[in-house]
Amino acid sequence: MIPVGYFFVLSGLLFFIGVFGFVTRRNLVAMLISVELVLNSVDINFAAFNRLLFPDGYEGMFFTLFSIGVSAAESAVALAIIINVYRHFHSDQVNSIENMKL
């Protein structure tokens, strides 16, 4: 069986790729995709911990299922909002939607 550390490294990498993408990407859809990477790393963590460390219950698996469902709902709302942004600004680049300033 693959040791749990490998999953941990994988999810850690995925998490930081997501955070990095969220901070550096200047495109709303790309930022949304990066956030999804962060949420996927969480799902890997929960599933791997449940399977390898605590195989008695299904708490982690259920958390993963709920997290997938909720993140789908969030993406739906986020995409609707991004479409509305596109209607107003004719762009999905972060630089061009700076209507409000400090």
Binding site: F8, S11, F15, G18, V19, F22, L28, M31, L32, V35, V38, L39, S41, V42, N45, F46, F49, N50, L53, F54, G57, E59, G60, F62, F63, F66, S67, V70, S71, A73, E74, S75, V77, A78, A80, I81, I82, N84, V85, R87, H88, F89, I97, N99, M100, L102
Partner: protein
């Protein structure tokens, strides 16, 4: 499974009932032209819900520990329900004009349902679901002014940071699961030990909720979202959603991470000092009133979390609930006035627009002054008492001879100094209204009866909640 458990979660059940009633009412009368009764219906239902929350239910543990409720949670639910009632009362003109009145009330009620679930969660899964149930409809309400650029921009920033912060928070929770193998608050609390994994989990979890409360290193979305959102929604965001998240953070820190107090006390002290100071410095240079209130609300969030620096749960939660109660009435008064001025000013909310406001609308400017004084904490008003209790609970049990105790006193002292800075910028509004002369101040206008009613409730709160000591005593006795 015992289905009767559903009827024991009375505040949530009553909110679901309200949702159904609103939906059916909207559905059944969809073709009628004007529905003047819709706002009163929603307001009355929320007022009833407030009284339902006041019904004492004691401590309950439902669904095998997934759902826990205590008298402290009930008090906070009643406070938030009252705040939502004020929001709904005050939103009538704007909501009717938007043409999607029923949708707005349903979204607001469903966010409140999410917050209630989050506050009485006994398990991290339940907590996460409640949090998302609150933040997804909130994003929809921020984007509610579909044809205004700023609303779309604010909503995009809000939903992206909200998802990102819940991702970060979930990553922290997964660490806790990896360490303890359970997600129940009570089980984690008994097994709690400060391993590196748990400390990292705590930090990720804290920063995730810090985004929601908009404490300082995590506050970047706040100003844009608050400015872009419709004024009513900004009011709702700044008091209700912030109050619920702060209460949940306090409750989880004390009940789950109770044995790691020395770790999160350090974390909180840094974040609180940063929030209060930096937000105050930024607020001084704002010219847009909603943006200004956004920074003011960041610094108020710092004051709210000051309660968690004490080490006595009962004191901290009483001070926090009382502070949120006073903050609800004071801030909602300000936002009601901003909203009514905005409607009579072509949608502009600059501070300059308030120049000479006293000459034309003396009553509104007087009420605004009272609310600003209360936010700043000037003595006869309620804001001073709530700040006093927060400071008291912050130094509760702190021994000045120990390092941590001295730090606690230091943090409270910095917060005290910052009250003076905040007075400066709150009084800037008062100065604009009373002292600055201008040739063309806003014309005199009459506000509608809903605005008057909401303002009357807020003013009664500002003037009476501080002086009538039984309000605080009731909260302190209940928790």
């Amino acid at each position: 499974m015992n289905y009767s458990d559903f009827f024991k979660m009375i505040p949530e059940a009553s909110l679901i009932a309200i949702l159904i009633v609103l939906f059916v009412a909207d559905f059944a009368t969809a073709k009628t032209e004007e529905r003047k009764w819709f706002n009163p219906l929603a307001s009355v239902l929320l007022l009833l819900n407030t009284f339902v929350c006041l019904y004492p239910m004691g401590t309950q543990n439902l669904f095998g520990g997934m759902y826990e409720t205590t008298p402290a949670v009930d008090v906070m639910k009643a406070i938030l329900s009252m705040g939502t009632f004020i929001v709904v009362v005050q939103s009538r003109v704007w909501a009717a004009k938007s043409g999607k009145e029923a949708e707005f009330y349903m979204l607001i009620v469903s966010t409140l349902l999410g917050m209630f679930t989050m506050m009485s969660a006994g398990n991290f899964l339940m907590f996460f679901l409640g949090l998302e149930m609150a933040s997804v409809p909130l994003a929809c309400t921020v984007a509610f002014d579909m044809y205004r650029k700023n609303s779309a921009e604010g909503a995009a920033k809000f939903i992206l940071t909200a998802t990102f912060s819940s991702g970060v928070m979930l990553y922290g929770i997964s660490f806790l699961y990896g360490q303890f193998g359970t997600l129940y608050f009570a089980d984690i609390a008994t097994k709690m030990q400060a391993t590196p994994l748990v400390i990292m989990g705590l930090v990720f979890f804290f920063s995730g909720l810090g985004f929601k409360i908009s404490l300082v290193p995590f506050h970047f979305w706040t100003a844009d979202t608050y400015q872009g959102a419709p004024t009513t929604v900004t009011g709702y965001l700044s008091v209700i959603s912030k109050g619920a998240a702060a209460f949940t953070l306090l409750s989880i820190l004390f009940h789950v991470f109770g044995d790691m107090m020395e770790y999160w006390h350090v974390l909180l002290m840094i974040v609180v000092v940063l929030s209060i100071t930096i937000a105050n410095l930024f607020a001084v240079r704002q010219n847009e009133l909603k943006r200004f209130m956004a920074f003011s609300s960041i610094s108020q969030a710092g004051y709210i979390m000051l309660a968690a620096i004490g080490n006595n749960w009962a004191n901290s939660v009483a001070a926090l609930s009382y502070y949120v109660l006073i903050y609800v009435v004071a801030n909602m008064a300000v936002f009601t006035i901003i909203s009514v001025v905005e409607q009579n000013n072509g949608g502009k909310t600059n501070i300059d627009d308030y120049n000479g406001f006293y000459q034309t609308n003396p009553r509104l400017s007087f009420l605004m002054t009272l609310a600003m004084f209360s936010l700043g904490g000037i003595p006869p008003f309620a804001g001073m008492f709530s700040k006093f209790f927060i400071f008291m609970s912050g130094v509760n049990g702190a021994d000045i001879n120990t390092t941590m105790g001295a730090w606690a006193y230091g943090v409270v002292f910095i917060a005290l100094l910052n009250t003076v800075i905040s007075l400066y910028y709150y009084l800037k509004i008062v100065k604009a209204m009373y002292i600055v002369r201008t040739d063309n101040p806003l014309p005199t206008f009459k506000s509608d009866c809903n605005t008057k009613f909401a303002l009357a409730i807020c003013m009664a709160g500002i003037l009476l909640f501080g002086v009538c000591s039984f309000v605080y005593e009731w909260i302190a006795a209940a928790v």
